[in-house]
Subunit: 274 residues, 2 copies
């Protein structure tokens, strides 16, 4: 994989879009989240509005459940929910669009008829049901909701920090992926109350701020690039994962599962040179 | 799942075997590991010998790689390796035995022709190749080795703390599973050196001791029971995971992947009553 990435061309990478990138600032540091407006346009709009209103600032990480999710929100609903946090219709899946780029995987999937990558996100398709959706791989970001499928707003979000809970696919709006800093969430102490909630949710790590990259001053911005999945470099990367070249491997799987494919992220070359 | 377990009978559970259960004592608390002698008899014997010689005591957690593994060993090889830590032939897989109980899963697998449970561990089978092996699901314990497949001894072990790295299957000796306390490993700070090693491996969390349960005084023992996978209760548990009954689910997968099936562990009922 290192060799494949070292041989990549600048055109194999795309910069993140400041209008679809969030910075989640925790006491321990910054997480960067790439948003997925194609799959959850209403939720992404809501989240961007809430971020612009600074709604998330001073909320807390309330829940860290081992091998599952880390979740933030407003413990005890102390903060008045702004009108922009109104509940939304479900965006759990979208009508299948065959006209948009999709990088399929060749080795099948337990949960979906087809899996691969759309817009740089792990995704699934059902041609018969004419639906497509994002998949709950490690680092994916979803919107918490109550029993009512219309109850999610984006005011509360979770991040997958364990083995892919793919049974959640098509049940929540996935809105993006953590592309930097997930270890700041995954290494948090686990909550000891049911479902991994902290005994005193308000004492969980505070959110210092959650901002859209476009609203952050240039000097404080990240310069990240994400690999384009429709490139020969990505195909080579995928192949290096299906069959590890390393001498260490006594047995080569000749297969790879969706959530074991890394969607590489790097510092922009110009930023590296700074 | 809670309802299924609440309705279980005492005969649905088996106690852990003191001769095949390890206690890993870290500063933060105790982890319990159930060993898998059927799949790696030589490695399990080696590990038990090393534990009896107190070889692991004062070694360190040297590596915590996000979404991958936590690993312990002897940083800088400061401790003379005892003769019982000699390298072993690979036990990466075993000849298929169709005469031992196997609880198959019905929904397929990306990596193996058949998957299910043997002796309470996630496992895979290839009837054509006449082989069987343990699968790298969350919490599984493996033996670190160098490039030479004969270089593992059990002196160094790792635990899966992320999405199942199934490409490691058939490449290392898996020796067991953490059945209690894995959150003490998975919530450790990630190492920042390559492969998640700590910059100063010797400063990682120290192993206070690693003991065989049989060598621990009765009052200090756990009283854990593991669900038997060949029971109607386990079938019901599996079905509750394939199709969540909970009203929260808008879409039921009707499928489950090997590493998403929980092999339930509980406090023994007699211990609960204490």
């Amino acid at each position: 994989m290192t060799a494949v990435l070292a041989a990549s061309k600048p055109s194999d990478w795309r910069p993140t879009d400041p209008d679809n990138t969030l910075y989640l600032e925790l006491p321990a540091g910054r997480l960067v989240i790439e948003l997925a407006p194609r799959f959850a346009p209403l939720h992404v709009e809501n989240i961007k509005r809430l971020a612009r209103e600074h709604y998330y600032d001073a909320l807390s990480i309330m829940r860290v459940q081992d091998n599952y999710v880390a979740q933030w929100g407003d413990p005890g609903n102390r903060h008045p929910t702004p009108s922009s946090a109104k509940s939304l219709p479900p965006e759990f899946e979208q009508p299948l669009r065959t006209d948009i780029p999709f990088t399929p995987l060749p080795d099948g999937d337990v949960y979906a008829p087809q899996v691969g990558f759309t817009d740089g996100f792990p995704s699934a398709r059902d041609p018969k049901g004419a639906a497509m959706w994002l998949a709950h791989c490690y680092a994916m970001v979803g919107v918490g909701r109550d029993v009512d499928p219309n109850s999610g707003s984006g005011a509360e979000m979770y991040v997958v920090i364990g083995h892919a809970p793919r049974h959640l696919d098509r049940n929540v709006a996935l809105v993006g992926r953590v592309i930097k800093g997930i270890e700041l969430l995954s290494s948090l102490p686990r909550g000891t109350a049911p479902m991994g909630f902290y005994e005193v949710p308000a004492r969980g790590p505070k959110i210092k701020s959650l901002r859209l990259e476009a609203d952050v001053a240039g000097a404080q911005r990240e310069h990240l690039e994400v690999i384009r999945t429709g490139t020969p470099t990505f195909t080579a990367l995928l192949e290096s994962r299906r069959n590890r070249w390393d001498d260490w491997y006594a047995y080569r799987a000749n297969r790879v599962e969706l959530c074991n494919v890394p969607i590489a992220v790097r510092e922009a070359v110009s930023a590296q040179a700074r």
